[in-house]
């Protein structure tokens, strides 16, 4: 029969490719408590939905008679798959071959992942574990080849940057990830790492040689470092948890920047008014409260599970960012957490906010902002961190925002930093617990009325009087009277009010959406 031997060889090569780094390497990998890249892909996508590309890419080994002895596959596995029925592109390094450090075919396939996502306008998921290039280069047999890429070649980082403006990108670090894979890992809208993963620019040996520090991979780039550095968004308890978080993330975003986010069926009544909201903010401004609880009470829940999916909890923790649903619509959520420096905007919180707002704009996600902003973080550490620049950058991102925006002033809105919580043409609701002004009374009075207080018969009594008088001016009622907010409301009405507004805002969007010019960058 024609071509039978070739067809047999195709099938034989496919079998060999699925052996990855071989039985011993796979066993060793499993013993470390890690899954192989093919197991990871299967854990992410719908059953039997993997449509692989380039399974036949690799290096064959022949005997003298030209018979195929072995076949070393590319150590990057790539293809199409479905996540809850939706098409995605998924790929990742095969650590069982050369520790994931790219072999020639692996490098080609890994670089192709972004081009594929751009071409087919589909979400991209990259599951990373591996090192960067070796000092000798990816291909050791270069003697008779030209050195370097041709001058007319497009940089491999061009498509990496482009994807962030065109399609959602979600990544995971599931083991040591260093060099180029680490850069690819953070070039994403959502990233997650497992407890035993490490993210490194350079590994322990290079660091010891250059700087003298004797540190383990974990000490250099474990989750305790990179969840706080902001390089990685979320922690996963297991590899499957990491994959599940990616599935959750993808459920909130459209396939690409030319589509709008979905509205799913909502079983949670939109007119649900929670009594707890009435008293959740203490009357004393010294007492903190639980902002996440407010978010959960207001936004959709199903079977008592909140739709709120928090992103980057440990980085810049005075700002809370995440995705949720309201009346089934996908929304971006921004809030202050007063448990961290009263919710004050630090340099890292500002960078987190700027990045999140750009992400919401990239995929047309309306923003709901729950405001309790006491202002930029003050003090020497904050000045050294350049908070004023990062904070103003965040405000600029908000001002250039083009998505529907609603702000609920839950508590404080002071100083310049407050501007980062109110988008252009935004809908503003105020709770009775709101207080606004240039700066909080306590600090402000002592400075502005220093002479008057010093000259008074009883300075501390005069300061108290002034504070009381000015506190009245920070009340939300005069602002509502002056139509400086759309409405002052009973906190229990927050959910129905926001849901009514969101339906109007979403339906007012006309024409096909376009990619946002200021795309999110890593």
């Amino acid at each position: 029969m024609t071509w039978e031997s070739d067809i047999n060889q195709i099938n034989h090569r496919r079998e060999l490719a699925k052996k990855q780094g071989g039985h011993v390497a796979v066993k060793k990998h499993h013993q470390k408590g890690r899954l192989t890249i093919r197991e990871r892909i299967n854990g992410l996508i719908d059953e039997n939905s993997f449509n692989e590309l380039g399974e036949g890419a690799g290096v064959p080994e022949y005997d003298s008679a030209g018979k195929l002895l072995d076949f070393q596959p590319a150590n990057f596995v790539l293809g199409f798959g479905r996540v809850n029925g939706r098409k995605v592109i998924v790929g990742g390094e095969d650590f069982t071959l050369k520790g994931g450090s790219p072999n020639p075919a692996g490098l080609r396939k890994s670089i192709y992942a972004e081009q594929l996502a751009l071409q087919y306008k589909l979400p991209l998921v990259r599951l990373h574990e591996g090192g960067g290039g070796a000092v000798g280069g990816t291909n050791q047999e270069k003697k008779h080849r030209p050195v370097g890429d041709p001058v007319f070649a497009t940089s491999r980082f061009f498509s990496l940057a482009q994807t962030l403006g065109h399609v959602p990108v979600a990544t995971a670090a599931l083991g040591p990830v260093a060099g180029l894979p680490a850069a690819r890992l953070v070039a994403s809208h959502f990233s997650v790492m497992t407890e035993n993963a490490a993210v490194l620019i350079a590994g322990p040996q290079v660091v010891k040689r250059a700087l003298g520090h004797d540190l383990t991979k974990d000490e250099l780039g474990g989750p305790q470092i990179h969840l706080r550095s902001g390089a990685i968004d979320n922690l996963a308890t297991t590899e499957q948890d990491a994959l599940n978080q990616i599935v959750t993330f993808l459920s909130f975003v459209p396939d690409n920047a030319w589509q709008r986010p979905s509205q799913v069926a909502c079983s949670d009544p939109v007119d649900r008014c929670e009594d707890v909201l009435k008293s959740i903010v203490p009357e004393s401004s010294r007492q903190p409260f639980n902002m996440r609880r407010i978010i959960e009470l207001v936004l959709d829940k199903s079977s008592d599970v909140s739709s709120f999916f928090e992103i980057g909890r440990q980085y810049g923790p005075s700002i809370i960012t995440g995705l949720a649903r309201l009346n089934g619509h996908s929304v971006g959520v921004i809030a202050n957490d007063c448990m961290f420096y009263a919710g004050a905007m630090t340099a890292s919180a500002a960078q987190k906010l700027r990045r999140f707002v750009d992400f919401c704009n990239s995929f047309h996600l309306p923003v709901l902002s729950f405001v309790d902003e006491p202002g930029f973080m003050i003090g020497p550490d904050s000045e050294c961190a350049g908070t004023i620049r990062h904070g103003t950058e965040a405000i600029s991102a908000v001002m250039q925002s083009r998505v529907p925006w609603a702000s609920v002033q839950v508590h404080k809105a002071f100083g310049v930093a407050a501007q980062a919580h109110f988008g252009p043409n935004g809908f503003v609701l105020s709770w009775p617990s709101a207080a606004s002004g240039a700066l909080p009374i306590e600090g402000g009075v002592a400075v502005a009325f220093a002479r008057e207080i010093a000259a008074a018969e009883d300075p501390s009594e005069r300061q108290r009087e002034l504070e009381e008088m000015l506190a009245a001016s920070q009340s939300p009622f005069p602002r509502a009277e002056g139509f400086s907010v759309h409405e002052i409301i009973d906190p229990r009405e927050t959910r129905p009010r926001l849901a009514q507004w969101l339906d109007l805002a979403v339906n007012s969007q006309v024409g096909p959406p376009q990619p946002f010019l200021t795309t999110m960058r890593p």
């Binding site: 923790p317 448990m339 420096y341 009263a342 006491p374 909080p440 600090g443």
Partner: protein, 74 residues
């Protein structure tokens, strides 16, 4: 196992609300730090016996400083 309980904010110890020897539950407030004019509770992440309090009222704290040690029995 001994668990080092740390403060997530810099500030001043405003009030100790537990004593050495107390049996502590998860999410229980150990002490309160005054920070940016707010009373921020430092809560236990797990249950256990409070074996050491490393700070006193009015002490100034830096971020991530260990404030108490819990014997978790695990």
């Amino acid at each position: 196992m001994r668990l080092h309980l740390k403060t997530h904010v810099a500030g001043q110890v405003w009030k100790l609300v537990t004593q050495v020897g107390d049996e502590i539950l998860a999410d229980q407030v150990i002490l309160i730090v005054e920070c940016m004019k707010m009373e921020i509770p430092i809560v236990s992440t797990t249950s256990g016996k409070l074996v050491e309090l490393r700070v006193s009222e009015k002490d100034l704290l830096v971020e991530n400083q260990t404030v108490a040690i819990l014997e978790t029995g695990q």
